[in-house]
């Protein structure tokens, strides 16, 4: 329900500048994901938006109004923490109702209704009388999300909410969050993660951060298909894009050529490059083979289904010519 605008936002901790001037607009009802390697400032940026950290300089606007000095609750945000951060001595119901109780002017019946509605959305109604310590990790995170929903926030903030869950639960909760966004499509959501799969699957738009600056903002497909830098190209997509430079890139008229594993073809006859298989990962549905063609790092090729290549096998391979990315010396794309 709120659009968020950051204007030349900066944050320093003592002498260390963590956020170095971020301009960003998050649209109403958008699901925006901040990704980046650890230490890029994505969590700090989220905490600045939440109001838990003070802004050093710059402006932050919610719906066109400056909120720099407003407290988190006045901004109308709710936050889900990585460590759940439930109140250990309160039952699930009390945890979820705590915010509403502090916000004067809600009757007991209204609070109960809103808590139960949120609990139904997340299927945690049968746990309302339990204490957090009696719940599993996934259930706790659902309660934390429920606590945020109950307050009916304008902006929903997630700080790596899935990092503490095991792999299976992570996928299930990810789907649940996607569903939540569909159900609450008018609520603006900002989600911080270092996992690019979460970013690709959940986001309306992704903001890639690097060293306290915005590297690129765009839809997942924009970032995948038209990365604005080698950094974004390498960060988005799994397996990581192959970067081949030196004499291999010369025929393409650039410093470095980038080819994703899924855009490599194994040729029966002669190909552009020849190399030896050094490793083969069969995942069932697809497989990655690592080929040493004499470049700095082995080239990863993604193949559909399983395959029978063995280490030492000689293969010919070529990139799909319309899917290559060319980069200049500074790591910027040549289009």
């Amino acid at each position: 329900m709120a659009s968020i605008e950051l204007r030349n936002l900066r944050k320093s901790f003592g002498a260390v500048e963590v956020i170095k001037g971020v301009d960003l607009e998050v649209r109403k009802g958008e699901f925006m994901v901040f990704v980046g390697p650890s230490g890029c400032g994505k969590s700090t940026l989220l905490r600045l938006i939440s109001g838990l950290e003070d802004i050093t300089s710059g402006e932050m606007l919610f719906d066109g109004k400056v909120v720099n000095s407003l407290t988190p609750s006045k901004r109308g945000i709710a936050m889900v923490f990585q460590s759940y951060a439930l109140y250990p001595h309160m039952t699930v119901y009390q945890n979820m109702a705590f915010g509403l109780k502090l916000e004067k002017g809600h009757s007991k019946d209204e609070i109960r209704q809103r808590v139960e509605k949120a609990a139904d959305m997340l299927q945690i109604r049968q746990y309302l009388d339990r204490l957090p310590k009696q719940l599993s990790g996934g259930q706790r995170q659902r309660v934390a999300i429920g606590r945020a929903i109950t307050r009916d926030p304008k902006v929903f903030l997630f700080d790596e909410p899935l990092s503490n869950l095991d792999a299976a639960l992570r996928v299930a909760t990810r789907i649940e969050i996607a569903k939540l966004h569909a159900d609450m499509h008018e609520v603006t959501m900002i989600y911080v993660t270092h996992d690019q799969v979460e970013a690709m699957t959940l986001a309306d738009r992704i903001c890639v951060l690097r060293d306290g600056l915005v590297e690129q903002v765009g839809t997942p497909m924009e970032l995948y298909e038209r990365p604005d830098s080698m950094f974004v190209a390498g960060f988005i997509g799994s397996p990581k894009m192959n970067f081949i430079s030196g004499k291999f890139a010369e025929p393409f008229g650039c410093e470095t050529v980038g080819v994703r594993g899924e855009h490599m073809i194994i040729n029966e006859g002669p190909g552009r490059w020849t190399g030896k298989v050094i490793h083969n990962e069969n995942l069932g549905a697809d497989s990655y083979i690592y080929v040493d063609i004499g470049s700095e790092e082995p080239v990863v090729v993604r193949l559909e289904g399983a395959n029978t290549y063995k280490s030492g096998d000689s293969v010919n391979l070529s990139p799909m010519d319309d899917k290559i990315h060319r980069f200049d010396k500074a790591g910027k794309p040549i289009r």
Partner: protein, 281 residues
């Protein structure tokens, strides 16, 4: 081989329990002897025995009927309880600031608080006496509450600060996001999590205030305002040359029993509180 090994094991066990018995006897004997003496009467008092020989409640009757002992007991209860409440209130709020609010000189302030507790009572007695006279609370319970609170605070603040520092920061942040003020965070989020630490420090503060002698002797003069440790010391017998050992012992037992009961009630909490405050996890 097996036999010698067993003998060695047995010897070790015997030695272990022998040591335990020695320690228990040494630490419990004075109190045991006090109880024993409190049940004796007349010249029995001066005959050394180690087992109960008589069970006379005469001394207890005397304690409660002669002089102002019941009044002294109430004084002690009032002073100690109020000291605990006041000290805990100040310590909880102070430790919130010292553990959660970033400000310049925080570490120095903590060291100063600790340094205060290093002064011996006698060193500050004269100064404190002037302050209490200046405040006009000389010879009232408030003088003792004031003095005890000052001497309890360094300890309570330190323990509660370490304890609060270990509480996860995210819980506090979640409460801030929920719209809680610092006061709400302290009372509704932190205090329930800190019960073990509060009980431990509160109990130790209570015991310190309950047993304190020097301040109580200095800051009160009348029988009506004295607390029990002083009252017991000043109990007098029938004549100048008689020390009423029986009544003194009975009074001591009466004074100690509430503490023992309190400790037993909160025993579990104390143990978890002491470790929870000191080490993480």
């Amino acid at each position: 081989m097996g036999a010698t090994f067993d003998i060695w094991k047995l010897t070790k066990q015997v030695l272990f329990y022998a040591l335990v018995v020695v320690i228990v006897v040494v630490s419990v004997f004075p109190f045991y002897y006090a109880i024993l003496t409190s049940f004796k009467s007349g010249t029995d008092l001066f005959r050394v025995t180690y087992w109960p020989t008589s069970l006379s409640l005469e001394n207890y009757r005397q304690v409660f009927t002669q002089g102002s002992f019941p009044r002294n007991l109430l004084n002690s209860l009032f002073v100690a309880s109020l000291t605990v409440i006041l000290a805990l209130f100040l310590a909880v709020t102070a430790s919130f600031a010292l553990s959660r609010v970033r400000f310049r000189g925080r570490g120095l302030l903590l060291m100063v608080i600790l340094a205060v507790s290093m002064f011996p009572q006698i060193a500050v007695l004269a100064g404190l006496f002037e302050v209490i006279r200046g405040l006009g609370i000389y010879n009232t319970p408030w003088a003792l509450i004031f003095a005890y609170t000052i001497f309890t605070l360094p300890f309570t603040v330190w323990v509660l600060t370490t304890f609060m520092r270990d509480l996860p920061i995210e819980i506090e942040e979640a409460a801030i996001v929920d719209g809680a003020s610092p006061w709400v965070i302290i009372t509704q989020v932190f205090m329930p999590l800190m019960w073990p630490a509060l009980v431990t420090t509160g109990l130790l503060a209570f015991i310190a205030a309950w047993n304190e002698f020097l301040f109580a002797l200095t800051f009160t003069v009348s029988n009506q305002t004295r607390t029990v440790p002083v009252a017991i010391a000043l109990l007098s017998g029938g004549s100048q040359y008689e020390i009423p050992w029986g009544t003194i012992m009975a009074a001591s037992v009466v004074v100690t029993v509430p503490l023992v009961v309190l400790v037993l009630i909160f025993q579990r909490k104390i143990v978890s509180g002491l470790t929870a405050g000191g080490v993480k996890g």
